[in-house]
């Protein structure tokens, strides 16, 4: 097997993880971390130029290319943010150099795991990769070793493991369904082979398998009522990890769900997975929207906002059809970019103020205009106001599904509006009003945040033709 671009997106993170685990000095390692993430991103982009052939272990198609590029891009910008974030943590003594070494190695292991989950051509391998991603994030969430961080990590570990266990049971059932048709052995777990034979699988087994997979991977997507780990893990871990969790890991779990949905769609006798996903998506969106009002912790609040948006995305994919899939895909991309930009801002804010309590943060636009207005722009985007990209994708989700399910869409719109109200209510005190807390100047790199916001803004105004056709191809693939 020659080493192509596909192997590259796996090898670079794996090798740099090993390297970062032994190198001392956070300045050097955080730059190396950035460089590794950048090279992975560059190689991921090259997948669009020369598409390598899918092998027995790794696969590439229009669907996972989008996910890989998005993942590696956000991973790269987050590593840039992480460099300035970690520098501050070292200065204030919240992290020791040994922890940072561990942190950087784990960051690359996480990248490896996510890329492996996205490229794996085997349902078992994909499961192992998602498991690995869960474990690395558990370790990173507990990095600060405080009461809250350990409690959050423990909760995440237990709930994540249960989810992962249920997903494994679903994976075994898929194998059981495939085995009589394809025969014993590894072939019955290979995506590309499964997809060609799916019509002949036992539909009942597929149905049960999908329920387990939905519950299992749905836990990792953060769908209500399986979301309990998500706010804690976001609030207590280092902020770059919150950005990666919200922006990327939730997407990776969603990708797994979408693959299995495609598999079921090929078997006419099996249940339609759509209604199940629509239900869970709607519940998550509505629940999270109302939960936003009572949040006192700024990172916890944006974590609930992630649940809401994952709900909207799962709703769109559950409705299915080329238009709704297109909208879901666009919304997923926009949400990843916006939410990670917000976490970049929040990370610096929490560092300056020394607290994450919303009550202790006030008047940011006065004391820290760049950071404050950056956050305002991010919240405007995430709330779904024009002219940002999320407005467009939410508009598309609503308009593409309204004719088919008007009542459901009304519920969704209510959830979006409720969330908008909550976000602005909180933003009002955070960004404006009497300045409170420390006014020390921020030692921040604003480039990642504004790069993301600029893309989201540009997407709201104009989408390049190539991007639209690319997304349309994927949407068609998703059925």
């Amino acid at each position: 097997m020659s080493i192509g671009a596909l192997e590259g997106v796996l090898l670079i993170p794996a090798l740099s993880a090993a390297l970062l685990a032994v190198l001392p000095g956070y300045k050097l390692t955080s730059r190396l971390n950035m460089a590794a993430a950048f090279f992975t991103f560059a190689i991921a982009v090259s997948l669009f130029i020369v598409e390598p052939a899918s092998g027995r272990y790794l696969l590439v198609d229009d669907l996972n290319k989008v996910f890989i590029v998005l993942t590696t891009f956000v991973a790269f910008t987050t590593s840039a943010f992480s460099a300035s974030y970690i520098g501050h943590e070292i200065e204030t003594g919240r992290l020791k150099p040994a922890h940072v070494r561990f942190y950087h190695a784990m960051y690359q292991v996480l990248m490896f795991a996510m890329n492996l989950a996205l490229t794996a051509n085997n349902i078992g391998l994909m499961w192992v990769a998602i498991e690995l991603a869960t474990l690395t994030t558990v370790l990173m969430v507990g990095l600060y070793r405080t009461h809250e961080a350990l409690e959050a990590a423990w909760k995440y570990f237990i709930l994540g493991s249960v989810g992962i266990a249920l997903a494994l049971f679903g994976t075994i059932l898929i194998y059981m369904a495939a085995q009589p048709v394809i025969g014993e052995g590894p072939d019955a777990m290979v995506w590309t082979i499964l997809m060609t034979q799916a019509a002949r699988f036992d539909p009942d087994l597929l149905n049960v398998a999908f329920v387990f997979l939905l519950l299992g991977y749905g836990t990792k997507v953060g769908l209500a009522p399986l979301h309990a780990w998500l706010p804690d893990a976001h609030a207590e871990g280092p902020t770059p990890i919150s950005a990666v969790l919200s922006g990327l890991l939730l997407n990776v779990a969603l990708y797994a769900l979408l693959r299995f949905k495609m598999l079921l769609a090929l078997n006419p006798a099996s249940i339609a997975p759509g209604p199940l996903m629509v239900t869970m998506g709607l519940i998550s969106a509505v629940f999270a929207a109302f939960m936003l009002y009572k949040r006192r912790d700024i990172k916890r609040m944006f974590a609930y906002s992630s649940i809401e948006h994952m709900g909207i995305i799962v709703f769109a994919f559950g409705m299915g059809g080329p238009l709704a899939n297109f909208a879901g895909l666009l919304h997923m991309t926009m949400h990843s970019l916006t939410k990670s930009a917000i976490f970049f801002a929040v990370g610096h804010i929490a560092q300056i103020k020394g607290t994450q309590r919303i009550a202790d943060i006030s008047g940011l636009t006065v004391t820290h205009p760049v950071l404050g207005w950056g956050l305002v722009a991010g919240v405007v985007a995430i709330a779904g106001l024009p002219p940002m990209g999320i407005f467009m994708s939410e508009f598309l989700v609503v308009s593409s599904t309204f004719a088919r399910a008007p009542y459901l869409v009304v519920i969704l719109v209510i959830a979006i509006l409720v969330a908008l109200g909550a976000l602005f209510l909180k933003l009002n005190t955070i960004a404006f009003g009497e300045p409170r807390g420390s006014t020390a100047p921020a030692q921040a790199s604003y480039v990642p945040m504004f790069a993301h916001l600029a893309i989201v803004f540009a997407a709201g105004i104009y989408m390049p033709e190539a991007l639209v056709t690319g997304f349309q191809n994927v949407a068609r693939l998703l059925g």
Partner: protein, 220 residues
């Protein structure tokens, strides 16, 4: 069809469910750990029998891992921790034993109804195994829900995972079974024992999850 091979496999898988029930009503941690060791032992026997019945020698590796690691090493290590913390006599159930048993019976019935119905076309041995495996998984989940103590939650998770290994070995010719069982063992060893329990001990002086919940309440 109902050969002696089938009967023995059936008996072993059934015993695993039975031991899951035994775990459910143990009211002391040390007794619970004994039951878990028995659980892992039955699993090892069951996997070994499957290895023999399916003529799949790689499954013997899984059986040996289950025997050495889960039936001996982990229970011993957990016992040490439990005695060190002085909690080997205590266990609190969220609700009574009777209710837990009734729920458990319901879950077993559920898994039989679901799995036997959908797998009517499959090989009978795999079918029974899958139904029992789902029962063990659900009982493990039930245990995690009904216990508050971190150690017994871990035991619940491990017995859940035993159910998964049973399912994976029952699915004939499934690849990666050995790898998955190793991955799970490593996971349990490193994370659970190595990091969490010690950290929790260090920070909380208790492994009671309710005490941990309090920290969050205060913060809200």
């Amino acid at each position: 069809m109902h050969s002696i091979t089938f009967d023995i496999a059936h008996m072993l898988a059934g015993s695993l469910v039975l031991v899951s029930f035994l775990q459910l009503y143990q009211d002391r941690l040390s007794a619970l750990l004994n039951m878990f060791a028995l659980h892992a032992f039955v699993l090892a026997a069951s996997v070994a029998w499957q290895a023999y019945a399916q003529d799949a020698p790689h499954l013997y590796i899984t059986a040996v891992i289950a025997l050495i690691f889960k039936a001996i090493v982990i229970p011993l290590a957990l016992r040490r921790i439990v005695i060190k913390l002085g909690i080997h006599r205590e266990i609190e159930n969220v609700f009574g034993v009777g209710l837990a048993m009734l729920l458990g019976i319901g879950l077993v019935a559920l898994s039989m109804v679901v799995m036997l119905r959908v797998t009517s076309g499959a090989d009978p041995l795999a079918r029974e195994d899958l139904a029992f495996a789902l029962a063990v998984v659900l009982l493990g989940l039930l245990m995690m829900v009904t216990r508050r103590n971190a150690v017994s939650q871990v035991v619940g998770f491990m017995s859940l995972e035993n159910g998964l290994v049973l399912a994976a070995t029952g699915a004939k010719g499934m690849p990666l079974v050995v790898e998955i069982s190793i991955a799970f063992s490593v996971l349990i060893a490193f994370i659970v024992i190595g990091i969490f329990l010690f950290r929790i001990r260090e920070r909380f002086d208790t492994v009671d999850m309710q005490a941990m919940d309090r920290f969050r309440e205060e913060q809200r």
